[in-house]
């Protein structure tokens, strides 16, 4: 189509999909302050960016959200969408948005069977 996407935004080393989701959720819902060895502080999320590969490889992003979310089958707005390599937020029951680390922009994707949908326990 005719539209082109912006390539402006946050610095590559400052954010990844996880930190963007945490920042989005933190201003809307109460999140746990500490999980395992991690201190959840939106002002100091560089830690997650630096440890991104280890965090994802150990699937700790799934464990993290499991600690305060419940797994659901169908998505609704603001549900958390987990894949093997990313964390996003549901827009509705069909799509979710995710921060593309490489292109430094937010994209939307279709939900598919590989997505794990988590709903905030207090959401």
């Amino acid at each position: 189509m005719l539209y082109q996407l912006k390539y402006t935004g946050v610095g590559r080393m400052s954010h990844n999909c996880f930190t963007v989701v945490i920042q989005y959720l933190s201003v809307r819902y109460p999140l746990p302050k500490i999980w395992k060895d991690y201190v959840i502080n939106v002002n100091n999320l560089d830690e997650y960016v630096k440890n991104e590969k280890r965090f994802l490889a150990k699937r700790e992003h799934i464990g993290f959200f499991k600690s305060f979310c419940k797994k659901v089958k169908t998505a609704k707005k603001d549900d958390i969408v987990l894949t093997k390599t990313s964390v996003g937020v549901a827009i509705n029951k069909f799509t979710y948005w995710v921060y593309n680390h490489d292109l430094e922009r937010i994209e939307h994707n279709k939900l598919d069977k590989d997505c794990i949908i988590m709903r905030l326990s207090n959401g």
Binding site: K6, V10, Q23
Partner: protein, 213 residues
């Protein structure tokens, strides 16, 4: 809303076309679709579209050409929608779609140009704000920001039938004229239909209608 197309959407050689789809469904089976969430909004655009404060979800959705003629047959459209791994089927089976209203709106518009730094995008950009303080903005085309566009209802009718696989949901949409009450046909007293004439008259039925005495 009319089919009149103004010139402003056809200036130069730059205009775009987008379709908006609305499907009503009766989730609580109460015979009405007034409740929230009982209308599905889709678009065949590649990003979300906001029109009249309603957000349309981009899905792979196609329909064949409209047939319009003077015969008594109903116009119908065959439509094909990405089933999003069965999510649409779940919606369809949890509600009653058949005989509910559907609408296809066509919008012809001139994409607004936009300048970012030294780069001029003649056809605009999809606004994807990646500012962490406002990250909820995914790419979206908001017609509140588009000054030159024409919109008209391309098709308005009812949902007839649908079937689905995991990948795609196919449906047939017909015009509301299908609901016209067709009168009992004029009798010809042709010998060939003698049997059916006899069957049409009984203690309960008289000429195909209820026998009211």
């Amino acid at each position: 809303m009319s089919k009149t197309i103004s010139n402003n959407s056809r200036g130069d050689n730059a205009f775009a076309l987008v379709h908006l789809f609305e499907f009503q469904m009766d989730k609580d089976w109460d015979g009405s679709v007034g409740e929230s969430g009982e209308i599905l909004y889709f678009t065949d655009h590649d990003v979300f579209v906001e029109y009249n404060s309603i957000e349309y979800t981009p899905l792979a959705i196609t329909f064949d050409q409209l047939k319009e003629d003077l015969s008594m047959t109903s116009d119908s459209i065959n439509i094909s929608i990405d089933n999003v791994n069965g999510a649409l089927t779940t919606e369809a089976l949890a509600s009653e779609w058949r005989s509910n209203n559907c609408k296809i709106t066509r919008i012809i518009y001139t994409p607004p140009s936009e300048t970012i730094g030294s780069d001029v995008y003649e056809f605009g950009v999809s606004d994807t704000k990646t500012n962490p303080s406002n990250v909820s903005i995914y790419p979206k085309l908001d017609f509140a920001d588009v000054t030159d566009y024409d919109a008209y209802i391309l098709f308005k009718g009812i949902i007839d039938t649908f079937n689905a696989s995991a990948q795609v949901l196919n449906g047939t949409l017909t015009t509301k004229f299908i609901n016209w009450n067709k009168s009992y046909p004029i009798r010809t007293y042709n010998q060939n239909e003698f049997t059916s004439v006899i069957n049409a008259i009984s203690t309960e039925i008289y000429w195909g209608r209820q026998n009211v005495t």
